[in-house]
Assembly symmetry: C2
Homo-oligomer: 262 residues x 2
DNA sequence: CACCCTTACTCGTATAGACGAGTAGCTAAG
DNA sequence: CTTAGCTACTCGTCTATACGAGTAAGGGTG
């Protein structure tokens, strides 16, 4: 049957040289932007759009694929295509590794999440020794082996971040850093106890589309990029004592930095 | 005719429950990752893939569409589908707005680009007064009107960044800041001459897929996200004197920040 | 030699049809 | 009342075909 998709969508312009599926995508996009379709709302079904515009199903699907790749919509098998809701973003302040926070004992992730009223979780914890990849190795001063701490962070059940910390093995082996639970304040607190007083962090921020394994790990819907953040921690001797390679769902994060002007 | 696409690609697994077009995408992706197809190299044509895998053209196109949405490949009408070359990245250091750079007279963009051996350009310059959008207005302390300076940056002819600076009108009107060419050292130098000694900058970093107009403006190929950076400049009185809203092609940038540990 | 046209390839767009698989609601059986 | 199954909807996958449009190279014409 396929009922009419309401009066929200107009007609095609046959004189336009813009491809039909793009015109359809344009119309739906504009309707979303104008709030005619609200966050989380169901878009007209493929068959409704087929009937409304008088085109074939593949044409409609192409139009919807555009919106999905733009991150505006996402489809659910058997249910429909929906306006992608914007999840609450987590803001990472540039002072999040300040010593005073560390001295509170709890991990930064936990404290922040609870303050925001979310339930934080950490899972798929893995700690092992391994040979570092070239770029990691270079940042750490080319140690033969490193300790790798892998984990995934979730907010209210949603995975938002996957991180791997690498530490030179000579520094971490036999310490609590090599334990699954590094204790209060996290590994930075342990590093300072071991005499590596932290001086500063370098962070490199990139954005790109996720690999298939990242899509799986972070349960990303299509059209959501990832932010890749590589942080290197230096002690007061100028030695790089940790590299943390983090991949974040871009729709869940805003990174905030403060720079001095002088 | 369609010659064989060489022995790089294997066969499909008919027993797998993974969709055929995904299997094809997987094979090509793996071949790219392993360097069997190098950067900029042409992938087998659609008809070659059709023949090799014994599937229909739409199936092959679906597979190629996956790779494009992942940013691994990009198609050129009439020519073929190519492994997307990774352009050289521009690194934005966190001290790029330090006063000592400003005092050199040249703009940060120009200096950096020339140091990297690239030809920098700035175009589509537009300076006008306008009513600020709510989020911009809030950051600037809710001025009634602002001066907006729009421009686009190119490296070796490739657009990489589009930026808009907003300044409270009472601060900028009638000064050189309202001129198309703000003079040596840019608007930050002018602001300091006007008595607004800069104290610090706040930067907010996000990543998302580009809007159609951003795709056009930055000539983005599919599968390339954008980095959105919103910088607020504060003077020593704590007043926000400028907000700069920047959209960057994510494949052209790495942002580098340094954070103190204390 | 310079230019244009043909030709053969490339990807882009669009149609029509088929079947599969997930979901949700109704209905009939227990 | 509960549940199992039917049914009608949703999107997912795949085939086959057709024509349009951009590219590049060959070959003929001027």
């Amino acid at each position: 049957m396929a009922a009419l998709p309401s009066g929200i969508l107009g007609d095609l312009d046959p004189t336009s040289d813009r491809a039909v599926f793009r015109q359809i995508a344009d119309q739906i996009r504009e309707a979303i932007d104008r709030g005619r379709f609200k966050e989380g709302a169901k878009l007209p079904s493929e068959s409704e759009l087929v009937e409304h515009f008088g085109v074939s199903r593949m044409t409609v699907r192409n139009a919807l694929a555009i919106l999905q790749s733009e991150g505006l919509a996402s489809s659910e098998h058997g249910k429909g295509v929906f306006v992608r809701p914007r999840p609450p973003v987590r803001r990472l302040a540039s002072d999040r590794f300040a010593r005073r926070h560390r001295e509170q004992g709890k991990s930064a992730f936990t404290v922040e999440a609870e303050a925001a009223g979310s339930k934080p979780e950490v899972d798929s914890l893995e700690v092992r020794e391994e040979k570092p990849a070239p770029d990691i190795s270079a940042r750490l001063g080319s140690p033969r082996k490193v300790l790798a701490r892998r984990r995934r962070y979730l907010l209210d059940g949603r995975p938002v971040e996957a991180a791997v910390s690498y530490l030179p093995l000579d520094l971490a082996r036999g310490t609590q850093i090599a334990e699954p639970n590094p204790g209060p304040g996290g590994i930075y607190a342990r590093l300072e106890e071991l005499g590596h007083r932290l001086d500063h962090f370098d962070e490199e921020v990139r954005a790109r589309m996720p690999s298939p394994s990242e899509v799986k790990m972070l349960r990303l819907s299509s059209g959501v990029p990832v932010i890749s953040l590589i942080r290197t921690a230096y002690d007061t001797d100028g030695r790089a004592v940790e590299v943390c390679d983090t991949v974040m769902a871009a729709d869940a994060y805003v990174l905030a930095y403060q720079l001095p002007a002088n």
